[in-house]
């Protein structure tokens, strides 16, 4: 009977255990290892939460030097000159934003196109293997992308594309001049980083969008087909609008990945702390300046400045994650077929 009373899954055990004194119950639980069990799994669970909070707190503390001396000016200042103790994060924020936008401009149509192909067009038999291949793109380590970028992608793709843009739009003396494509151009550039980032976030956008598209109820598609829509009209006017918030979630998660991507970007962006209007010029992103300059940060202010940039990255990814989860969740909750 004693052993039954610890069996909390059994209703019949309740009245019996109610008559047992608290001390007896504690003793019995200890003997069966239940209190340590509860304690330990709670501890494991709390450690996950602790890690999330801990990252924010530790980075906050460790960046106190620049936070106290520069305040919000740290974000807006455009000068980064560690030798004279000038720390402005704007060049990196701008670099992160511009490379991410460039990546999204390419990866959204591409990733969405693949997701549509996988969810709507391809025979179900090859959907899984094809999806797996696309997801393998996400499995290739960042540093390998970087090496491929330096030795293969920049010389064969980025250089010709960049030079074409430079010669067509980047010359003030003739033709149309667009400052976005102004020289000088060496290869390593925002363009190179943006293109590689695009390749890297396509799997993220594809995988989540595909799942969201597959979750759109069949009845919605049938409604559109029943009115005489073509397959594309059904996809474009019914399926995509229905899945819109989930796809937005996918894009935000992709953006989160692009913002924090470090090694590949560091290896192809050129690492120059400057503000530039041209995507052909070399630059820096928030993540790549931390990776690249950490080894040289000898003064407390220098380290603090780099950590503060890391803190900003942390808050950005926290925010984007929250937003993306809400969006993806709102779609899966709306799916009426799941009630059946």
């Amino acid at each position: 009977m004693a052993s039954i009373s610890t069996g909390k899954g059994l209703r019949t055990a309740r009245p019996i255990s109610a008559r047992v004194t608290l001390n007896q119950r504690i003793g019995r639980a200890l003997q069966h290892g239940d209190i340590p069990y509860k304690g330990i799994i709670v501890l494991a669970a709390l450690s996950v939460i602790g890690l999330m909070v801990g990252v924010g707190v530790m980075l906050w503390i460790a960046s106190s030097v620049t936070r106290n001396s520069d305040g919000l000016g740290f974000i807006t200042a455009t000068e980064w000159n560690p030798v004279s103790d000038l720390f402005g994060a704007m060049p990196f924020i701008a670099g992160t934003i511009s490379t991410s936008i460039l990546a999204l401009v390419i990866a959204i149509p591409l990733g969405l196109g693949v997701a549509i192909f996988l969810a709507e067009l391809c025979p179900p038999r090859i959907r899984a293997p094809l999806g797996f291949l696309v997801e393998l793109l996400a499995a290739i380590p960042s540093v390998v992308y970087g090496a491929w970028g330096i030795f293969v992608f920049i010389p064969t793709v980025v250089k010709p594309v960049g030079e074409f843009l430079l010669n067509t739009f980047g010359d003030k003396s003739h033709g149309i001049f667009i400052p976005l494509f102004e020289g000088p151009f060496f290869g390593a550039s925002y363009l190179a980083a943006g293109l590689i980032l695009a390749v890297m976030i396509v799997p993220t956008i594809t995988a989540i969008s595909r799942d969201v598209l597959l979750a759109v109820p069949k009845a919605q598609r049938e409604g559109a087909y029943g009115l005489g829509s073509t397959q594309w009209e059904t996809i474009w006017q019914v399926v995509l609008p229905y899945a819109l918030s989930g796809i937005l979630g996918a894009v935000i998660l992709g953006l989160g990945r692009a913002l924090g991507e470090t090694m590949a970007v560091t290896m192809v962006i050129g690492n120059v702390a400057q503000l530039s209007t041209s995507i052909l010029s070399p630059g820096y992103t928030m993540a790549s300046v931390i990776a690249n300059e950490w080894g040289e940060s000898r003064t407390p202010a220098y380290s603090s400045a780099l950590i503060e940039i890391g803190l900003m990255l942390f808050f950005m990814s926290l925010l984007l994650n929250l937003l993306a989860r809400l969006l993806v969740w709102s779609v899966s909750r709306r799916n009426p077929d799941q009630r059946v």
């Binding site: 919605q220 409604g223 559109a224 005489g228 829509s229 009209e233 609008p241 709306r334």
Partner: protein
């Protein structure tokens, strides 16, 4: 069975000039739609076996039978909705005004425009009421705002929904009650001016009051459309339809049509013993 007069009344409303042919199966006009020994397969599995079913213009043809007997599959093959299921194919013929719908070169999209469909569960798009109705017409051409307003009002009136929604056309179609949603789906279907409207158990997800409304609506709609309805509710078939096809599952699980006749005949003096058992509620 006492509801039969309703059906008769429905017939008399049709303008005299529109129906010169005398009544009765023997002298029936050429059917609007027809299946000729139609079999429907899902890969190797035959779901419907050799059904020959005429569907008269401006009449309601009901397809009844126990669940799993292939009623819905048959209905969905009429506007080639089954094409969406990979591995599905047919043998035999489906004709609309004598034209083979499965002939090579026939455009599925065109078939579905001419043969509209209302589904078992109301499936409005998550758009406004107005946009739901305007969706179909917009596919076929640029239509001016005033013309579209016209189409939307006319369609909603025909679906007997206008009075209930005319002040909230900009609200989401999803916010309506189940019965209203189903009528919105009917309005959406008739907005593209189909020739035939297929209804796949349109009331099975609705309460009795909403069901009656839809049934009344069907009597109105049949003045302009050929209607084919699948239902597992025999009373409904008896109440609304002019003709009834009775389907059963064969031992090899393929659905076959065991009897087709005027509804009155099916429900009062069926020829097949199984039909009699089914309509008298002895099984199914």
């Amino acid at each position: 069975m006492t509801e039969q007069p309703t059906q008769a009344a429905g017939m008399t409303i049709v303008p005299a000039g529109a129906e010169p042919a005398p009544r009765g199966p023997a002298a029936a006009p050429a059917p609007k739609m027809k299946t000729e020994s139609l079999s429907v397969y899902y890969s190797a599995f035959r779901a419907v076996a050799e059904v020959t079913l005429p569907m008269q213009d401006r009449k309601i043809t009901a397809i009844i039978g126990p669940s799993g007997c292939g009623k819905s599959t048959l209905l969905r093959s009429l506007n080639r909705m089954n094409d969406l299921v990979s591995g599905s194919h047919i043998e035999g013929k489906v004709t609309l005004d004598g034209e083979d719908l499965y002939a090579p070169g026939v455009d599925v999209v065109d078939v579905r425009r001419r043969i509209g469909m209302v589904f078992q569960r109301p499936n409005p798009f998550p758009k406004t009421i107005y946009e739901n109705v305007a969706f179909g017409p917009r596919l076929y051409g640029r239509i001016s705002k005033s013309e579209m307003d016209d189409i939307v009002e006319r369609s909603l009136r025909r679906a007997a929904l206008w009075d209930e929604v005319k002040d909230k056309l900009k609200q989401s179609g999803m916010a309506l009650s189940g019965g209203q949603q189903q009528r919105l789906c009917i309005a959406r279907a008739v907005a593209v001016e189909p020739e035939v409207v297929l209804m796949d158990e349109p009331c099975s997800a609705l309460d009795p009051v909403a069901t009656i409304k839809i049934e009344e609506l069907m009597q109105e709609l049949k003045k302009e459309y050929t209607i084919v309805i699948v239902t597992h509710n025999m009373q409904q078939a008896a109440r609304v339809s002019d003709f009834t096809a009775m389907m059963m599952m064969r031992p090899d699980r393929a659905g076959e049509m065991i009897e087709f006749s005027e509804t009155q005949t099916i429900f009062t003096k069926p020829k097949d013993k199984r039909t009699e058992d089914y309509v008298s509620g002895r099984f199914g």
